[in-house]
């Protein structure tokens, strides 16, 4: 032995003690006055608007970066950095930028920055996930320090949505060389990122709309939904939006001074159907499935009224929504009749034998499993045997993407343009080219969706998409379930938050705290 056995043994506790004393503990965080703490479920993966696709990355990034246009609280695109914008023809967009917008480093925002942002996304080396969405773009011309023109290769009405990408300064490196996002020109600037813990923003004192009332915002990552609620009860978190267990909301209202409000959202939950399945390819079977599901009961008892029954993917807030689209209200008797007509009689009446068995895939999240159990129970009432298979997200999504399912349930988040139907139901959108996972083919739908893309006039587009919605509601290549509401929980001292249908945080620029407790 190199060292004396007895002495080394007795030194061990001392070594541990010294380690613990030497261990660098962070100081207790000081409460920061006029900072609002927002509880979020997961770490934002990317804040740079050229790369961000995760919900928290997009929402927090939306406070740091301005875009040419931005959807308002009614989902209508409004000018933001653009002072004016026109479309001289159906493939050209002309923007006049505000002259007073500056990046957080003090540099003025010009047309060159706009061009650089879009060109850096188009650069294959940038590996930006948004590159594919800019494909219709033929070129960008800088016509002056504050004037920029976008040329498309062909008329493509949904391209308007691409003008909501945040603008970064010219020369900003991509993520491959830079882990800190570039400065933006939005109402808040990035103060710090503590991976897995929190993201802190501070108010931009030179914001062109005026300095926000809040001194800053802290987005605290609390993965466990119950713990987020406890943090709210303790007064650490002052604001939460969505990702709250429906069962907890009544408790929050009873035991805290929280203001809890649910607002119409755009997230659309649906059941996807494999249309190559010999039973499910029959329209009457799909209609029977839609009639056998009691959405109202699930919404009331499982979702605690935090959703509204859906007639399709587009929510009533969307400009192309057709309120006359036929719905499939709960009607088990009619469902049984349709199944009989389709050639699947119940072998033993109300007995345990099903007409046929199919599987339903979902994730292993508790709420999803409870919803699946409700489906199973309701479909059993009309004689359909449903086998629930729940998987971890990666495995589940892989199966859905590869068409390895009978039925599955997912939600579409952030639908702005009705062109989403092209991605989901056009026969060219069969994976890997799109998300037509059920392999739906309908020449009439294909023709309408192509026309909807190429038509710039909103009124004509609206007529086209009304027809699409009606055809799909009849044919049912998917079963619409419900539109999730956005649930906002805020402390009584938080004022001025305006909910956005897609869960955007942009109205934090107008939020103020009134004589509330300082938050850590």
């Amino acid at each position: 032995m190199l060292i004396n056995r007895r002495s080394s043994f007795s030194y061990f506790p001392l070594a541990v003690l010294l380690f613990l004393i030497g261990c660098r503990f962070s100081p207790e965080p000081e409460p920061r006055s006029n900072y609002l703490v927002v509880g979020i479920e997961s770490n934002p993966l990317q804040l740079d608007p050229r790369y961000s696709t995760d919900a928290n990355g997009v929402r927090i990034g939306g406070l740091i970066y301005n875009s040419l246009l931005r959807a308002d609280e009614r989902m209508r695109l409004q000018p933001e950095l653009a002072e004016r914008w026109t479309a001289p023809d159906d493939r050209t967009y002309l923007f006049d930028l505000r002259g007073d917008a500056k990046f957080h480093d003090g540099k003025p925002l010009t047309a060159e920055d706009v061009r650089y942002t879009y060109e850096s996304i188009l650069n294959p080396k940038s590996l930006s996930p948004k590159r594919g969405m800019l494909k219709p773009l033929d070129g960008i011309d800088v016509l002056g320090p504050h004037r920029v023109r976008f040329r498309l290769s062909a008329p493509h009405a949904p391209f308007l949505e691409q003008f909501t990408i945040g603008i970064v300064p010219e020369g900003s490196p991509g993520t491959e060389t830079n882990t800190m996002p570039p400065p933006g020109s939005g109402p808040f600037m990035l103060e710090s990122i503590d991976s897995g813990e929190k993201v802190t923003l501070k108010a931009n004192p030179f914001y062109w709309e005026g300095k926000p009332s809040l001194s800053g915002l802290t987005f605290k990552v609390v993965p466990d939904a119950l713990v987020r609620v406890l943090e709210f009860k303790k007064g650490v978190i002052g604001f939460m939006q969505n990702d709250i267990e429906p069962d907890v909301l009544p408790w929050l209202e009873r035991n805290t001074q929280a203001s809890v409000a649910a607002h119409q959202g755009t997230t659309s939950q649906y059941i996807g159907i494999n249309l190559t399945h010999p039973i499910l390819r029959q329209r009457k079977v799909r209609q029977a499935l839609a009639l056998a599901i009691d959405r109202d009961s699930i919404i009331r008892h499982v979702l605690k009224d935090n959703a509204t029954p859906a007639s399709g993917l587009l929510s009533p807030l969307n400009w192309a929504f057709d309120e006359t689209v036929p719905q499939w209200p709960y009607n088990p008797q009619k469902a049984k009749r349709l199944l009989d007509e389709a050639g699947y009689p119940d072998p033993d009446g109300d007995g345990p034998q099903p007409r046929f068995r199919i599987s339903f895939k979902t994730t292993n999240i508790d709420l999803r499993r409870r919803i699946a159990e409700a489906f199973k129970e309701q479909l059993a009432q009309v004689g359909i045997g449903l086998e629930i298979r729940s998987y971890e997200w990666g495995t589940f999504y892989n199966d859905v993407k590869n068409g390895n399912f009978h039925l599955f349930s997912l939600a579409w988040v952030g639908i702005v343009d009705p062109d989403i139907y092209f991605q989901l139901f056009h026969s060219d959108s069969v994976p890997p080219n799109g998300d037509n996972r059920g392999l739906y083919r309908n020449p009439e739908i294909d023709r309408l969706l192509e026309a909807g893309r190429a038509t710039v006039d909103p009124a004509r587009r609206k007529t086209i998409y009304h027809r699409v919605q009606n055809l799909l509601a009849e044919d049912l290549p998917y079963i619409p379930l419900w539109w999730w509401k956005n649930v906002v929980v805020q402390a009584p001292h938080v004022r001025g938050f305006v909910p956005y249908p897609d869960g955007e945080f942009i109205s934090f620029k107008k939020v103020s705290l009134v004589s509330g407790p300082p938050t850590p």
Partner: protein, 307 residues
């Protein structure tokens, strides 16, 4: 012994390589595609293929494995696919949190178990003994995902003594350390108590008493030390496991440690990050086991390694 330890140290390398190889192939076998996670649903097939090609994920698995090994040799763990940040930087940012929590949880466990086991063995069949056994039973039965929120409700919400979750000052460590430490203390109390009761009947303990040694000296030098061997095994196993990240406790307490990072990496099929996390976890585990062998020798001079 020196030679033995050197051999053990050298054996760590193939073991580590074996673990990393296993994980490399397993994570590629698991269904799921990192490109889908990175690009989202709106990206075109061509963009997905281009990204796959630029990241080298379209190459044969063995070629990817060779690149991975080359990266290991040059200490380059690559870029995280989901966070687009250096894997080493992400692990460096998270590991101190796990290290801190592990040490504090272990301190709680050792303090509680040594005190309880010693008292229980000293007063065998008394109410103290029964209370220690009850504590042990409860500690083993209560899962962390239940115990954590219960401690939060009592100490953070009702009494207001501690923060609910997150990492910050010393007060933030109290509840997660207790949650992790109580379960460990329960196991250690049982094992140590049994060891102490067995040792206390040994001849050398009787001899020590007959020699006129003080009771404290009999307990510390002759009884406790001889009952330590099984405890060292359990402590080292638990310590290694905790350093590998206590996923549930880190999630419940919003603790930004290596466990949460690993789960996030697996869910996103972030291959480089999963491999980086496994490298750290496996290395830690092997080192702790290596240190355990040294402690065995220190605790029991009868143990001889090699010639």
């Amino acid at each position: 012994m020196k030679r033995y330890l050197l051999q053990r140290l050298l054996l760590l390398l193939p073991t580590l390589l074996g673990a990393l190889t296993l994980v490399f192939f397993l994570i590629h076998l698991v269904p799921g595609d990192p490109i889908e996670v990175m690009l989202g649903e709106t990206a075109s097939a061509a963009d997905k293929e281009e990204l796959r090609r630029s990241l080298g994920l379209d190459r044969p698995l063995l070629a990817q494995y060779r690149s991975f090994l080359t990266g290991l040799v040059t200490a380059d763990l690559g870029l995280s696919l989901s966070e687009q940040a250096s894997v080493s930087a992400l692990i460096r940012a998270r590991f101190p949190a796990t290290f801190q929590l592990t040490f504090c949880a272990m301190a709680v466990a050792l303090l509680l178990s040594f005190s309880l086991a010693a008292m229980a063995a000293r007063h065998r069949a008394s109410w103290i003994d029964r209370a220690a056994l009850l504590f042990s039973l409860l500690g083993l039965s209560l899962p962390n995902f239940w115990l954590g929120p219960m401690l939060m409700i009592v100490f953070a919400i009702q009494l207001g003594w501690t923060p609910v979750s997150g990492r910050g000052g010393l007060s933030h460590l109290v509840l997660p350390s207790l949650t992790l430490g109580l379960g460990m203390a329960a196991i250690l109390t049982r094992i140590l108590r049994a060891g102490l009761l067995q040792t206390i009947r040994e001849d050398y303990v009787r001899t020590a008493r007959a020699k006129g040694l003080s009771e404290a000296r009999v307990w510390l030098k002759h009884t406790l030390r001889n009952a330590l061997l099984p405890v060292i095994t359990i402590v080292s196993l638990q310590f290694g496991g905790l350093l590998a990240g206590s996923i549930i406790t880190e999630t419940v307490f919003s603790w930004p440690g290596i466990g949460r990072l690993t789960v996030q990496a697996i869910q996103a099929r972030d291959y480089p990050l999963v491999q980086g996390c496994v490298l750290v976890i496996a290395t830690t585990y092997l080192l702790v086991n290596f240190l355990t062998d040294i402690f065995y020798r220190l605790a029991d001079p009868r143990i001889h390694y090699g010639k």
